[in-house]
């Protein structure tokens, strides 16, 4: 789902950089309340785990592949704002060190995978917290919405001839199916952590 250089019109790149920078700045402010300094190494572990998991491209029969994205997982373990920061660090590292995702599209890639996936995943998890399927649906719907956002961004770009009617359904259908794997992986990890290390899961403090 990493958009390369050349797929987005320049004005979309600028808007996505501005939107992502604003959300990251707000997340830095909010994350201070969300996590104490003793849990900072946990951010590193979650981010490193997501980076490693994203390197594993699952080959799907039919010639398609997908990799775990991990936005919902980061949000559930770390909290949404710290989750945004952890995912942003992974996507920025992938772009700057490994050239995965275009530099011009970095703002859009952060928006899709570190903002939409994280906040949608967390909202779903929070709404269904008492349900057994909360983390599965969080993982699934988080990546699905991120894929639709990606489809919209490329679909309104001139290089795609504004074929939004092609890009959105293609991204939505494939990631709607592949997202089931993301949901299962998210639910498995959360279930394990809840069973053996429940203190590691973020607990929202209401004022």
């Amino acid at each position: 789902m990493h958009i390369p250089d050349g797929y987005l019109d320049w004005w979309i790149c600028i808007i996505m950089y501005a939107v992502s920078a604003t959300v990251i700045a707000y997340s830095i402010k909010k994350a201070r309340k969300e996590i104490d300094s003793r849990r900072i190494p946990m951010i590193g572990i979650v981010a490193a785990g997501i980076f490693a998991a994203q390197m594993l491209n699952w080959p799907i029969p039919g010639g398609t592949s997908a990799h775990f994205v991990g936005g919902a997982l980061a949000a559930i373990i770390l909290g949404p704002y710290t989750g945004v920061l952890a995912m942003t660090s992974v996507i920025t590292l992938q772009c700057l060190i490994f050239g995965d995702g275009g530099l011009s599209a970095l703002g859009a890639n952060i928006f899709n995978m570190a903002i939409v996936d994280v906040f949608v995943g967390y909202a779903v998890y929070k709404a269904l917290r008492k349900s057994n399927t909360a983390s599965f649906l969080a993982g699934w719907l988080g990546i699905w919405m991120a894929a639709i956002a990606c489809g919209l961004e490329i679909g309104i770009s001139s290089i795609f001839a504004y074929k939004i009617y092609v890009t959105v359904p293609t991204m939505a259908i494939w990631h709607g199916l592949l997202g089931i794997i993301e949901g299962i992986a998210t639910a498995s990890v959360i279930s394990y952590i809840k069973s053996y290390h429940p203190e590691s899961i973020y607990v929202e403090v209401t004022a």
């Binding site: 789902m1 990493h2 958009i3 390369p4 250089d5 050349g6 797929y7 300094s37 900072i40 190494p41 951010i43 590193g44 572990i45 981010a47 490193a48 785990g49 980076f51 490693a52 998991a53 390197m55 594993l56 491209n57 699952w58 080959p59 799907i60 029969p61 010639g63 398609t64 592949s65 997908a66 660090s89 992974v90 590292l93 992938q94 772009c95 700057l96 060190i97 490994f98 050239g99 995965d100 275009g102 530099l103 011009s104 894929a147 990606c150 489809g151 490329i154 290089i159 795609f160 001839a161 074929k163 092609v166 890009t167 293609t170 991204m171 494939w174 990631h175 592949l178």
Partner: protein
């Protein structure tokens, strides 16, 4: 914490296997499918990174996947360790 490091190490160790499998099935991602359907070809990147597409110059792609996986995880964990130390010092 130790179990989490072991899990990360296992995933990095599996990276070469997944790289090989992906090559075997000639995979493409949904984003590439959307580009193909729209008649779009990928342009040359503005910037390719230090290890372009998780490769290390002179090494085969499988060993490269292993090494770049280690490098990526090391950078992230080191950064969080440094931030943690700075925060605790204050």
């Amino acid at each position: 914490m130790r179990k989490a490091y072991v899990a990360i190490a296992i995933m990095v160790a599996l990276a070469p296997l997944f790289a090989w499998l992906a090559e075997k099935v000639n995979y493409s991602e949904p984003l590439e499918n959307a580009a193909e359907k729209s008649g779009v070809e990928e342009e040359k990147a503005l910037y390719s990174g230090i290890f372009p597409d998780y490769t290390v110059p002179g090494l085969n792609p499988y060993i490269s996947a292993l090494i770049t996986g280690l490098i990526g995880c090391f950078i992230i964990i080191l950064a969080s360790f440094i931030i943690s130390k700075i925060k605790n010092a204050h």
